[in-house]
């Protein structure tokens, strides 16, 4: 076997990496200690951040990529994949994350956008995940090279309503493509500003051609199971774990909830005595200009 015949960073490898996360929970962590708690609870990956979204929201100011020293320490602490967030359009933050050995970049609306354009993700060796509120946004991100889509939800609120809205929107739009002829699909592609071939692929597969996770406001095992029953391939949990009263127990319960999402009596059992979930914030009370989901287009 000649080692120089190896090919790196292909579309298949990027989308394949995302497929390995299916049925799993990806947890936001800010320290190596939290990363170990997440790994022991059964997280499929961790997202390295300098602050969880609820704190980013509180702190205000410009939110940027985490300190590389923190990211390195988290990579050292666990054997599961480590993801990290870059600002929308900030391709140099993404280059730095790739150089650090991060497994996947989240081009995230939780951080302050750096450009009107998103990152040209196809140029990178490592895969990207991006947020989307609807099928048009999801297709635009996939066209740019995203290997995984997640709902935007409203991060840092502990209010799952926006993740539900976005998941229903994306899956509903895909269902509505069923049975359309090529001219009708072309019309939809124009209307939602999406690549026609991708719209056709969604119509045929009756799903996104990449893995589709729920994110933004998931705070309890019931929230996680709700997103799975609605059709998510897996779940990101941001502030929901380490802003709860007992993070280790909450982390285990959310992992279990994603695995047994369709078993109500099991869900009842694991939801007992977890202590308080994160306090949260009603997403409907957030002024339009402060909503994170409106970042990125």
């Amino acid at each position: 076997m000649e080692l120089e015949n190896l090919r790196f960073g292909t579309e298949l490898l990027k989308r394949g990496f995302a497929k390995m996360q299916k049925g799993g929970v990806i947890m936001d962590v800010t320290t190596p200690e939290q990363a170990v708690i997440a790994e022991e609870a059964g997280a499929v990956a961790v997202m390295a951040l300098h602050a969880v979204p609820a704190d980013i929201r509180k702190m205000g100011g410009v939110a940027r990529m985490a300190d590389p020293a923190i990211i390195e320490a988290i990579i050292e602490a666990v054997t599961i994949p480590v993801m990290a967030k870059a600002r929308i359009g900030h391709f140099v933050e993404a280059q730095i994350l790739e150089a650090l050995g991060v497994d996947m970049v989240d081009e995230s609306e939780v951080l302050t956008p750096a450009d009107e354009f998103h990152i040209e993700k196809a140029k990178f060796t490592i895969p990207f995940v991006c947020g989307a509120r609807n099928l048009g946004e999801a297709c635009r991100r996939i066209k740019e090279g995203a290997a995984m889509i997640r709902t935007k939800g409203e991060a840092g609120t502990g209010d799952v309503s926006q993740a539900v809205l976005h998941m229903r929107m994306i899956l509903g739009q895909i269902r509505s493509l069923k049975g359309m002829d090529d001219l009708q699909l072309l019309k939809v592609a124009r209307e939602i500003e999406a690549d026609l071939d991708l719209v056709k692929e969604c119509a045929r597969m009756q799903r996104l051609p990449v893995v589709n996770f729920a994110a933004g406001g998931v705070a309890t095992p019931a929230d996680a199971a709700l997103m799975m029953q609605l059709g998510a391939d897996g779940v990101f949990v941001g502030s929901g774990i380490f802003k709860s009263e007992s993070p280790a127990a909450m982390a285990v319960a959310i992992v279990e909830a994603v695995h047994h999402y369709d078993d109500a009596s099991f869900l009842a059992n694991i939801s007992k005595g977890l202590g308080a979930a994160m306090k949260g914030l009603d997403a409907a009370t957030i002024p339009e200009a402060e909503a994170l989901q409106n970042r990125g287009w």
């Binding site: 390995m20 059964g42 994949p81 992992v255």
Partner: protein, 193 residues
Amino acid sequence: MARIGVLALQGDVSEHVQALERAAAGKAQVVGVRKPGQIEECQALVLPGGESTTICRQLQSSGLTEELKAAALSGKPILATCAGLVLISQEVEGDNKVRPLGLMDIKISRNAFGPQRESFEADLQVKGLNRPYRAVFIRAPAICEVGREVEVLARVGEAVVAARQKNLLALAFHPELTEDARIHQIFLKMLEA
């Protein structure tokens, strides 16, 4: 008709189901298994790719460990890919985060090739196949030691990436992510034997 169960605790389960259905062309039924009692009803099993620490944990909490061991010992064919290979190994080198089931006489190393940026595709020479096989390695493990009963089927450099021990077929790569059905055909033949 033979029933093949794909362990559906976490990972790329639907990809395995679809790849096997294509390869079997109606000759076998392929189902996800995640509840006690389901493994017994299958004549062959697939342990898919995913995150080995997560699958290992879920295997224990779902109470499927003993059923899986019994199936392996009774001689049912088992295809284990990537995370699955980690699970069926005897020993994991330098890592106590996964407790392997000890079904196959191999010592493995997790993430043997590095982080995702080092994940690769390669044209492999696989014993028993007359043309190279395009294999997809994603944060892949490698087999670093094999026991006497184990037949090595493919290597990348020094690392063993495919091996067989009686009814157990273990791969560090993902045959379910490509169109080439030859590896799944080998597995289906094991079921016929």
